[in-house]
């Protein structure tokens, strides 16, 4: 360590960056101290100097003790697995006191967004030396998308409540806020049974067409094991069946940025798309998502829900010239357009369309008209959410 580095470290230790605005009581106390000082100096009453000195050094002691409280604290977040716009969530905060002997009293922790604290805070009354305590604050974010928490603000009014000393800790973390989940109209869900499939993985059924074999994974239904092939290969293999059409659905979200469609309408449509996907995945369906220029292949399970929600969390109005992808091969299609009521098209209706539709590709995917007017655009790049 060079002398310069050591000097810089010592200076940083001696003059840490802190905020210490007085509290309301602190302002009164400071004003009283000032007045008493003037009175003592003017009156020449020596004992008043003693009282004045006490008040001055109470302020000084307040600064020292609060600094001791704030030093050597380590704060970490316990982020919830999913956060939806407009829905309250609990953000876990863990605070560790790494001092060897001194406890920390009356510490508040606030998350910072762009350097400004959130309106919610976590309070730790006493944090003994070498201990970690966890608590959480309840909060909600109204907008979907990326939100960056830039750090923490640790503050304390200990010991006398005269000043609120705080220090900021840089600890950036990005939160992905999923679209708000709204109530899906019953009319839209008509035709989608509330429970589907058998076994633990509801989106798979043994009643469908045989697709192939794969290795057995923990959690698979033992009844799906293909014993003959397993005996032949020496490893357990399970049979995969293709579900019938009723177990797959595709949410088509027309994300075209059309003049006249407000941002609120767009956001409402995003929320509806996410909510429909959420409900149907809960009901055991394999859900795919199609949008302008991108799509997600139908899958089931919570991972697929996360995939769809992440996609919708970041979706922005696309150029109307981009095609609306349809990743689904079969099953119902739910079309959601900003500013319009969502509509559902079940398989029976689509069979007629399929015979008529010449644009369907081999995999069953087809490009829908690029805009509500029905003008089909060129096929866009396929995109699969990570």
């Amino acid at each position: 360590m060079t002398l310069r580095t050591a000097t810089a470290r010592v200076l940083r230790w001696l003059t840490p960056r802190r905020r210490f605005p007085p509290t309301r009581e602190g302002w009164w106390f400071l004003v009283a101290t000032l007045l008493l000082g003037l009175a003592a100096i003017n009156a020449g009453l020596n004992l008043l100097f003693l009282v004045w000195g006490m008040m001055l050094f109470l302020v000084l002691a307040s600064g020292v003790l609060s600094e001791l409280c704030l030093r050597q604290l380590l704060v970490t977040r316990k982020t919830p697995p999913s956060i939806h716009a407009g829905a309250p969530y609990l953000m876990g905060i863990a605070l560790s006191n790494r001092k060897r002997r001194l406890p920390s009293f009356s510490v508040e922790v606030e998350d910072l967004v762009a350097g400004k604290p959130l309106d919610k805070r976590c309070y730790f009354l006493k944090l003994p030396a070498g201990r970690t305590q966890e608590t959480a604050y309840r909060h909600q974010i109204s907008q979907r998308g990326r939100h960056v928490l830039t750090g923490f603000r640790l503050s304390t009014k200990f010991p006398f409540g005269l000043i609120q000393k705080s220090r900021d800790v840089v600890d950036a973390q990005e939160l992905l806020i999923y679209p708000a989940l709204v109530r899906v109209p019953e009319s839209l869900l008509r035709g989608f049974p509330a429970t589907h499939g058998l076994g633990r993985q509801k989106w798979r059924s043994r009643s469908g067409d045989f697709i192939g074999l794969r290795d057995y994974r923990a959690g698979d239904d033992p009844r799906d094991i293909h014993w003959r092939s397993s005996a032949r290969r020496g490893v357990r293999l399970v049979r995969e069946s293709e579900d019938d059409e009723g177990l797959e659905a595709t949410v088509l979200f027309d994300s075209a940025g059309v003049p006249g469609i407000s941002r609120d309408a767009f956001e409402a449509a995003v929320s509806m798309a996410a909510s429909v996907a959420h409900v149907l995945l809960q009901r055991g369906y394999r859900i795919g998502l199609g949008a302008r220029g991108a799509d997600i292949t139908p899958e089931g399970g919570p991972v697929q829900l996360t995939r769809i929600l992440r996609f919708l969390a970041l979706i922005e109005p696309a150029a109307p010239s981009l095609p609306l992808h349809n990743p689904g091969r079969r099953g119902a299609r739910i079309l959601i357009r900003p500013g319009a009521a969502p509509s559902v098209e079940h398989a029976a209706g689509r069979a007629r369309d399929r015979n008529r539709d010449q644009g369907a590709d081999q995999s069953g995917r087809r490009a829908l008209p690029a805009d509500p007017t029905g003008d089909a655009g060129p096929p866009g790049p396929r995109r699969r959410s990570a």
Binding site: G44, N46, L50, L58, L74, F160, R167
Partner: protein, 791 residues
């Protein structure tokens, strides 16, 4: 102790300490204070929900009405005494409000009011306190205030925040406020000890502030000086029989004087010399029927000649032109050591011993001058006391920004008065009774006996008749037999000294000293009664008889009140003059010999002397008066100069200081305290065992692995991975591994070695341990936490 109970106890102790500061000022009204203490004691049981609290709640309206009534009453009492307000009603009001709040402890706001009211009491005490007991009460107040404010803050935070109980075994849950207020785990002995140290630091800081803040002004809001009791005998009129009797049993210290020439004497000689010191105060020239008064004639006015901060005292109508005051010449020179300060300066040249050693003789001889630094302690009389015979005074320089100052004003017959006056105050004879406690000044005196030398005064025949007449005047009511007695005593004596000696001899032969006065009311004049009937009395009678008999025999005389002697304080190195040292004597004008002190009072039994303990208390009080109450810019300069000399290693060109910081003792105390602390720490370690984060000591070959395990735990703790108290080493290692921490396998291996050594007493191979230590160090360097996270 439970948090709530601790907070309550501290709050009450805070109030008591605040009252203690007020008690040290002697301004605490006794009856209201007693009532307050009783009410405060009862209020202790007035917690929310208690029967007392229910009664208070039912009486809320009448109590509030009473508060208003007491407020109005206090305001009226203060207003009635304007422009010299009495603060007692205000103190009564504050105590009443405080008692009410102690009964009505419902919310945090009530506690806050209690603290504010107790602080107001401390402020009042600081403005009025004179006793050093204030320091003890104030130190206690500072400690208790620190504790109380911390507890109050925590309590408020508890009540205003959502509290969660954290546990590693169970989910977190909401904690009720009452539950945590009754918890014993929030604050404990160690908390109070550590915050107590902070409080002591605060007190030390207040002392430093007190010492360092420049005293640049005084008097803007001083208001009227407080009136205190007057000491009988120093007012405009003295009635025989009151002064000596009332002061006999009074042991209050009136003056403290530092006389450098006395301090250097051997103890036996010093005590003898002190007993013969006369502290001259008031002088009276007119007698009638047992009363001495001042005639206030212009020609008798004392002449004060100001030279800088010094005043030369003269009676020019009696001074010979051929014999100027040689001592005055010396006093007129500038003295850099005394300018602007009342510190003890160097000895005048004529008091310095020839060999320069510190064995000065008490000033005797025509040119000897005694320098005295006088602190007024308990006098409320505007008299500048000084050793007989005062020839000069020196006052502290007027402070910058001050509106009032201490002044001297001339009176009559060589008497000088003290004045606390605004800067534009013109000299007047207004004898307002102010408190002069804390006043200090320097006086220069010549031994009164040394004045008896040829050429010091003007011959009696050359004095102007209007000047000498008042000192020869006999009251018309004086009995002729007194005049006849004087002629009989001085028969055959032709000159004044011979008459003087004859009168003293007659009085001491025929009269006795007593304080048990008898009085024949049939004789109107108590002096006549003393001379012819009682033939016993105290100093006032002897002095009055001397003066009147001298006048009756044609010798000018006057009557003087003051003090005689004093007590040497071995600790503070000063002379304490108590009120029971009050004394009266006469002064006779002996023509060319000038004015001479005449004390015909027979020697009396020795007065009460202070024991060692009382000397200690008195010296503390002296220190308090001089260095706290009387601390001013001059003292600051003196202190800074003294410190500078000490730091510079130069000898201090000073007289023996009345108080020195006990460096050696302080060093010993620090060593002893440190040693005790080390022993206590060692004993505690032995008792509980040295328990690191590993949970206990290992004996034999297991100790190194325990230390290494401790090191690993500390390393992980710096990264936020702290082992819970209920977590086993293996559980902790599993948790670290599950967190995906790089190098967690090192902890796994170390944990197995540690567990095996601790619980299975398995030996740990040194090579294996070294290998793990090396890997641990590498991981520590690689995983150093980000600077930004730690602040």
């Amino acid at each position: 102790m439970r948090f709530q109970a601790t907070h309550k106890l501290m709050s009450y102790l805070l109030v008591v300490s605040a009252l203690g500061t007020l008690a040290s000022s002697e301004a605490l009204p006794a009856l209201p204070a007693l009532g307050f203490l009783i009410a405060g004691t009862v209020s202790w049981f007035g917690d929310v929900g208690s029967p007392t609290a229910r009664v208070v709640d039912r009486l809320a309206l009448p109590l509030r009405a009473a508060v208003v009534v007491v407020f109005l009453l206090s305001a009226w009492q203060v207003w009635r005494r304007l422009p010299d307000p009495d603060l007692t009603p205000v103190l009564n009001l504050v105590m009443f409000l405080l008692a009410y709040k102690l009964f009505h402890r419902r919310a945090n706001r009530d506690f806050l009011h209690i603290y504010i009211l107790s602080f107001l009491i401390v402020l009042a005490a600081a403005a009025m306190a004179q006793s050093f007991l204030f320091a003890f009460a104030f130190a206690l107040y500072v400690v208790l205030a620190t504790w109380t404010l911390i507890l109050f803050h925590l309590r408020r935070e508890m009540e205003e925040n959502y509290l969660v109980k954290h546990s590693t075994q169970a989910p977190s849950q909401k904690v009720g406020v009452n539950r945590i207020l009754n918890s014993r785990r929030v604050v404990g002995g160690s908390f109070l000890a550590s915050t107590g140290l902070v409080a002591l630091a605060v007190f030390g800081g207040s002392v430093v502030t007190f010492a360092l803040v420049p005293r640049i002004g005084a008097g803007f809001v001083l208001g009227s000086p407080r009136a205190t009791r007057n000491l009988i005998g120093f007012s405009d009129e003295v009635a025989l029989g009151q002064y000596g009797l009332l002061s006999t049993e009074n042991q209050s210290v009136a003056l403290r004087a530092t006389v450098p020439a006395i301090g250097g004497l051997p103890s036996d000689r010093r005590d003898r010399e002190i007993e013969h010191l006369y502290w001259r105060g008031t002088v009276y020239d007119s007698y009638d029927n047992g009363h001495w008064v001042r005639s206030r004639r212009h020609e008798l006015r004392t002449h004060l000649e100001q030279r800088g901060t010094r005043y030369l005292v003269r009676e020019p109508r009696f001074e010979s032109a051929q014999s100027p005051h040689s001592g005055h010449e010396g006093l007129g020179a500038d003295n850099p050591h005394a300018a602007g300060t009342v510190g003890v300066g160097p000895l005048p040249p004529n008091l310095s011993p020839p060999d320069g050693k510190d064995t000065p003789a008490v000033g005797r001889g025509p040119h000897a001058i005694l320098r005295q630094e006088i602190d007024v302690v308990g006098l409320s009389v505007p008299v500048a006391f000084a050793l007989d015979h005062p020839v000069g005074f020196e006052l502290p320089a007027t402070k910058i920004g001050t509106l009032t100052e201490l002044r001297l004003s001339p009176r009559w017959s060589g008497e000088v008065a003290l004045r606390i006056a605004p800067l534009d105050f013109a000299t007047s004879d207004n004898d307002e009774i102010h408190t002069y406690a804390g006043t200090h000044y320097i006086a220069y005196s010549r031994d009164a006996m040394s004045m008896v030398r040829a050429g010091a005064g003007i011959p009696l025949r050359d004095l102007a008749p209007e000047v000498v007449a008042p000192f020869l005047a006999l009251p018309p009511s004086l009995s002729p037999r007194v005049i006849e007695l004087a002629r009989r005593i001085t028969a055959g004596r032709t000159n004044a000294p011979a008459k003087l000696l004859a009168i003293i001899d007659w009085l001491r032969t025929t009269h006795e000293y007593t304080t048990n006065l008898q009085r024949n009311v049939a004789i109107r004049d108590p002096l006549e009664d003393f001379l012819f009937e009682q033939k016993a009395g105290h100093c006032e009678y002897f002095a009055s008889a001397t003066a009147i008999l001298l006048r009756a025999s044609g010798v000018p005389s006057r009557y003087v009140n003051g003090f005689q002697g004093g007590e040497w304080n071995e600790i503070g190195h000063y002379i304490a003059v108590r009120e029971n040292r009050a004394h009266s004597w006469a002064e006779a004008y002996l023509g060319e010999l000038g004015w001479m002190r005449v004390d015909a009072t027979p020697p009396t039994r020795s007065l009460f002397r202070m024991g060692r303990l009382r000397q200690l208390f008195d010296s503390i009080d002296f220190f308090w008066s001089r260095w706290v109450v009387g601390y001013d810019l001059g003292r600051q300069i003196e202190l800074a100069r003294s410190l500078g000399h000490r730091l510079g290693g130069e000898p201090v060109d000073r007289e023996p200081h009345p108080w020195k910081f006990p460096w050696a003792r302080s060093l010993v105390a620090v060593v002893v305290v440190t040693g005790l602390w080390a022993i206590a720490r060692r004993l505690r370690r032995r008792r509980v065992g040295h328990r690191g984060m590993s949970g206990g000591a290992l004996r034999g070959g297991g100790a190194p692995v325990a230390r290494l395990y401790d090191k690993a735990l500390r390393q992980l703790a710096r990264r936020g991975l702290v082992r819970g108290r209920s977590e086993t080493p293996r559980e902790f290692a599993a948790r670290v591994a599950a967190g995906g921490l790089a190098g967690s396998e090192v902890l796994d291996q170390l944990t197995e070695l540690y567990v095996g050594a601790r619980f299975g007493r398995r030996p740990v191979p040194d090579q294996r341990l070294r290998e793990l230590a090396r890997r641990l160090a590498e991981l520590g360097r690689a995983n150093a936490p980000a600077e930004a996270r730690t602040g």
